[in-house]
């Protein structure tokens, strides 16, 4: 429980967030609450490992608060613990703290937090967002594994910026019960570690992929998990060879905003993988350019709905003095206006608008149509079928842009994985983010991350060196639905080739 004074301080910091203080810039500020005396795992035979939990995933004890970096939940103690935290505790996790994030997971740089911005330790680079605290905790070696949430890249982007591995599972694989929702149809629980191996250990070898959670209605049923896995490789935990794996390079990802260094690193990495026997082919994902817009319609719409419960009555504080609950007035407006941060308010407004009866058809429904096209793009290029589709769709050539070379339209394009950068740039300086960058610049960071989120596909970001800069960027590998085991296996092999940690 926070004291009232601390609460006030949080509010103050929240309000002043847009003007970074010297104090904030010196702090890396990646933990919201830290456990002085972590509770050891109960099954003693397990090899314990340390775990940091993003503060929008509920924990019942050690630490007891779950703030979502929002003043509304500054002193919130959840009456229950998220399934994923329980599962990891059972596997030997020792929770050491709750990590900082963008309020309710909305942001790309972990700056929109009631606890102040997160920064990377060296040189004050952006940690990425929204799971920035978790990525920094891993990058600093403070924990073995960190939990994040990935709605539109919120695990992969900070992993890429911080030079660690970030994994977003297939939608419906890891339980969301206990994850405070941002956009339910996109939210996934993600894992961050220094190497792919630890993530693969937990998800594949220790069988998290298999476990259905009856408390999460979007958790895939046990039978379906098994059935789909039968058509997939890698769930035995065996090593995966790069030899013969077909990697597709989406031509639409070579965008104007892509930094030269990152592009070079991407192409170079593809070349090195080809040397190791992988087959690299260009593919076309024509809907990519609409995906980002669709994401920023759908996610805020769901967010505006999910955040309606924070009204100052049950959560947060009722704003004093300005209660206008009189005849014709509204009870919650003042409290909500004061309680939420700027970015959250922006998305609530955006979402409320796109769901309004006059805008619904032009925004929300169109965005859902784009979402289906994005999924179809992926299904068209993957060699494996999408088990969530009843029948295989046929694709009409006329629907594709004329700029796309014919050979790409027709295939050979069936591939095992897509290989692309996680973000178009290296981590920017936090100063630049908080000073001059506009809102849309921040949204732009998600451009390569959101397509996989919209389609519910598994994706992993592994670090790759950007030569000349001597800094790390993220290389993203995207797989067909429920191909998580092979995806992690190949990612591990790729990391080895690129010289990363196993």
């Amino acid at each position: 429980m926070l004291t009232r004074r601390r609460l006030q301080a949080l509010r103050l910091r929240h309000a002043q967030r847009s003007i970074p203080s010297r104090y904030q810039r010196r702090q890396i500020n990646h933990f919201i609450s830290k456990e002085a005396d972590p509770v050891p795992p109960i099954p003693a035979q397990r090899t314990p490992f340390t775990l940091a939990v993003k503060d929008n995933i509920t924990t019942k004890f050690s630490p007891a608060t779950t703030t979502c970096a929002s003043p509304f939940l500054a002193d919130y103690n959840s009456p229950f613990e998220a399934t994923i935290v329980q599962q990891l505790r059972d596997l030997g996790a020792v929770v050491t703290g709750k990590t900082n994030l963008d309020e309710f997971g909305m942001g790309s740089h972990s700056v929109h937090s009631a606890h102040g911005a997160v920064s990377q330790e060296k040189d004050g680079y952006s940690a990425g967002g929204s799971s920035g605290g978790s990525a920094v905790a891993v990058a600093n070696g403070e924990v073995d594994l960190a939990l994040g949430t990935d709605t539109g890249g919120s695990v992969r982007l900070p992993a890429a910026y911080c030079g660690v591995v970030g994994y977003k599972p297939s939608y419906g694989m890891l339980s969301r019960f206990g994850v405070v929702p941002y956009a339910n149809s996109l939210d996934t629980v993600g894992l961050i570690a220094k190497g792919v191996g630890r993530i693969r250990e937990v998800v594949v070898r220790r069988g998290l992929w298999e476990v259905e959670d009856g408390r999460d209605p979007t958790s895939l049923g046990r039978k379906a998990r098994r059935r789909i896995a039968q058509g997939r490789e890698g769930y035995g935990g065996e090593d995966v060879e790069l030899e013969g794996v077909r990697l597709g390079l989406p031509v639409e990802y070579n965008i104007e905003e892509l930094e030269g260094g990152v592009r070079d690193a991407w192409v170079k990495a593809a070349g090195r993988l080809e040397e190791r026997g992988a087959k690299v082919v260009p593919v076309s994902l024509p809907t990519t350019r609409h995906a980002l817009s669709a994401y920023y319609v759908i996610a805020p719409a769901e967010a505006s709905s999910n955040l309606a419960k924070y009204d100052g009555v049950r959560y947060g504080r009722r704003s004093e003095g300005e209660s206008d609950a009189a005849e014709g007035g509204v009870l919650y407006a003042a409290s909500r206006g004061q309680g939420f941060g700027e970015e959250v308010k922006r998305r609530i407004l955006l979402g409320s608008y796109t769901l309004s009866s006059e805008a619904m058809d032009n925004y929300f429904l169109k965005a859902q149509a784009v979402r289906r096209l994005v999924r179809r793009d992926f299904d068209r290029v993957f060699r494996l079928e999408n088990p969530l589709q009843d029948e295989q769709e046929t694709f009409d050539l006329s629907e594709m842009s004329e700029e796309i070379p014919m050979e790409n339209k027709l295939g050979p394009a069936e591939v095992d994985f897509l290989l692309c950068p996680t973000a178009p740039t290296l981590a920017p300086k936090l100063e630049d983010v908080m000073g001059g960058q506009g809102v849309l610049d921040a949204y732009m960071n998600d451009v390569f991350a959101v397509p996989a989120s919209l389609a519910g596909l598994p994706a992993v970001s592994v670090p790759m060196l950007v030569e000349g800069e001597e800094r790390m960027a993220g290389l993203q590998l995207i797989g067909q639905y429920w191909d998580d085991a092979r995806l992690l296996g190949v990612a591990e092999a790729i990391s080895e080739v690129l010289g990363g940690k196993r």
Binding site: G214, P217, S305, E327, L331
Partner: protein, 606 residues
Amino acid sequence: MPRIPTSELSRYLLAGQLSRRGCLRASRICLQPVANFQTRRFASVETQSTSVPPTPLRKQLKEQAKALKASGQKKKKNIDNQTVPGWELTVGIEIHAQLNTVRKLFSPATTSFNDSPNTHVALFDLAIPGSQPLFQPETLIPAVRAALALNCDIQRVSRFDRKHYFHWDQPSGYQITQYYEPFAKDGRIGLLARDGIAAEDGESIAVGIKQVQMEQDTAKTTAQPGEAHWLDFNRVGMPLIEIITLPEIHHPATAAALVRKVQMMLSAVDACVSGMEEGGLRADVNVSVRRVDDTSGKLGTRTEIKNLSSFKAVEDAIIAERDRQIAVLEAGGVVEGETRGWSIGSTETRRLRGKEGEVDYRYMPDPDLGPVVIDPQLVQRLASSSGVSPDVETDQLIEKYGLTAKDAISLLALDGGARVQYYYNVLDALSELGAETDAIVTILAANWCLHELGKLTEVSSDLGMTADGECKVPSRDLAALLHHLCRREITAKVAKELLWAIFRGEVAPGGVTEAIKDNNLWFNELSKAEYEALADRAVEGEDKVLGEFLRFADGKSKAYPRGKLMFLVGKMMRAGPEHRMDPTSAERVMSTRIDDIYLDALGNKQ
């Protein structure tokens, strides 16, 4: 026919007129000599008003007749209320009914009525961050039954949407409902004259059902003194169905009849727990008016009146809102599309506080909930097991048992359908006792099941009626009672007193006959000679009254002076031992003796 209050009826009877079998309210009056009667009568008047002088009977009767006429006129006025010349009313109704289920719609918390507040609440019901909805498939069974009863097409695939608005009784800030794809569509409900539709709608009318959707209930708010409101989250998330009719109703009485009929149909298929009286059913009405000569074909701007909790409120609120809208339009104003409220007993609707000003519910498919797929086999199964429809059953009660439509519908409506089951149980027990179940018996039994049983609960607790039609008065015991009554082995008065005794548990189950025997309650009727002696005494000094009969016998007056006869019978009854007398026998004896003896005697005198 307006029902005469029983207090008035008993006063009327005690004031010197005859008591008819089956009409006298059970009351403990011990038989006393005639001399004492006057005082008793005053005493009973005094309960009404302390200083009213005794009113002559004749005057009293006249006044009552006048009052009756007056109330009749009032009734007529109500019928006129159904239309306003020059204007057409259009009404659509949304009925919210609580489904008869064990669990809430999206959480395994149990449903409850009047349990301790906030004892059946799951994480999701309170919208605790990180909790998720878990659809409870069992809730589909009563929902589909209800939709089938309303002749709807059950949709194979339906979905849940979020309807957003801020209110303290809704923790998540949205209600989960089925807006875009409801589970049932395109139904129809038939209403007959006997269901109480407006006379203007003729013998029958069909009203279309647009859709039936499943949705969550909100928390229950209890206003406390001062500004406080208490919330009971037991109700939040309870499964409801919302039944939306097409705007095809044009008369207030028909709207009320529709709601009543829906309630009856839902309880007949066991889809709902309770009716309007218990708060298990609520109605919102959409009301608009337009001029009869309006040729645009468009309906007027409609207003919605929320949360009507009785059939009368539905009718009254529609009348009030229609009249308000007409007044606004006739004054050159514009009807605003808004939400209005109605309190019972008021004469006008009132504007409710806007929830967010102009409400845009921002419907959005719930991203946590998958589609609901209803197997056609389930629909078939439920359709074949849903039993007789209330309309068919009403017809049976009228045709087979000779009941009036009103009594038949009341029997079906009471106790959520259990009362009619009780009635059948009584009839079964009667035929086991060897009673002839002809119309006299079936109608008598219905009267007792409805009215006499109803009186028990006027002053005491409920009947404890179970779904299979048993209550604190076992059906076998009531049958035994009625059997004795039919065979004139006990009087109606004794039967009624025994009914109370059974209700209070003073008669052991199956012990009706024993109780009659032990307390010596058998009807030991006066002999013919004894009746005749009483008749002779009654006519003493009544030559003027007998003169009326003579005038009739001589053809000088057209109508038989029945009133006079009853006056004389009443005198007889008061003079004799009431517990040994049957008014019918007394009347027969009196009538015969007037014709055979008294008139001759009178003629001789003159």
